[in-house]
């Protein structure tokens, strides 16, 4: 039991770290190569239709990552 508990804490730590890292590490003030909002919304709603370059962009551009997190959060609330 304690072992499982420790692993769960590590999982939280990893995803928490990923969120803080991706949300800040790649500032892109010029918004170079950013997809339109509609593309992000479509990706959030239909992951099977995801576009690989856009998906890669999301994890290398903090503004887009943050916007995608907002979209996912609103999707989760629905």
């Amino acid at each position: 039991m304690p072992r499982n508990k420790q692993r769960d804490i590590n999982e939280d730590e990893f995803f928490g770290f990923a969120k803080s890292y991706l949300s800040e590490a790649f500032p892109n003030p010029q918004r170079t190569g950013c997809p339109p909002d509609s593309t992000l919304i479509r990706m959030a709603e239909h992951p099977s239709e995801q576009d690989a370059p856009v998906s890669e962009h999301l994890t290398g551009c903090s503004p887009c990552f943050n916007r995608y997190m907002e979209i996912l959060a609103s999707l989760k609330q629905r």
Partner: protein, 208 residues
């Protein structure tokens, strides 16, 4: 008064420090990502000269790839600046990791949450995951980051919650194995990485 031609002088040398040529298209791509790369590299390496040097080395390596004729069926590089930037991030990770290894060669205890090298290892693992993950696994990662349950993730991917968890765990395990290939082991970051503990039939499901 304004100077004619290119307003920004070139910052990337056409030859890296090892004397390797950099392809003009790659120089243009490196110039495009220069500001972002410098900002990111300075956070980890501190010295702008080291950062620019790292960017040039990456550009030289990418140039070799660009010049090499791609084998039939191999995907072409669609977004060269994005490709250069990602390669640069990985190279900076390697350099930083080397720096840390030199500073603390006696770090044989378990990583601690306040230990900066532990945070760096998580960052390196995350970068490796992002590099290796397919679109589906990357989407699972992003949804998990946002707090989706495995059942919610499974539902949107047409899987059971358990299958989604196992599939993601398998992808994560692959990234860890590749990262630790011949090097010191990383901490087992999540319980999802333990697909090896699953029964063989469940492992086969995870590989589908």
């Amino acid at each position: 008064m304004a100077a004619q031609g290119s307003p920004v002088p070139p910052r990337i040398s056409p030859i890296d420090k090892h004397g390797r040529d950099i392809h003009p298209a790659v120089i243009a791509a490196a110039e495009e990502v220069y500001a972002r790369a410098l900002e990111h590299g300075l956070k980890l390496l501190g010295d702008p000269a080291v950062v620019v040097d790292a960017l040039e080395q990456v550009a030289a390596a990418v140039s070799r790839l660009v010049r090499t004729e791609a084998p039939p069926g191999a995907p072409a590089i669609k977004n060269l600046p994005g490709y250069v930037f990602r390669a640069f991030v990985r190279h900076v990770n390697r350099l930083r990791r080397r720096q840390l290894a030199l500073r603390s060669s006696n770090g044989d205890g378990p990583p601690h949450s306040t230990d900066p090298s532990h945070a760096l290892e998580m960052k390196i693992l995350l970068d490796e995951c992002l590099r290796q993950f397919d679109v589906g696994a990357r989407d699972m990662l992003l949804r998990r980051i946002q707090g989706f349950s495995w059942n919610e993730i499974g539902k949107i991917h047409g899987l059971s919650g358990h299958a989604a968890e196992v599939r993601f765990g398998h992808a994560l395990r692959k990234a860890q194995v590749r990262l630790t290939n011949g090097r010191r082991s990383l901490p087992c970051t999540t319980r999802l990485a333990l697909t090896d503990e699953l029964k063989p039939a469940m492992r086969r499901n995870a590989e589908k």
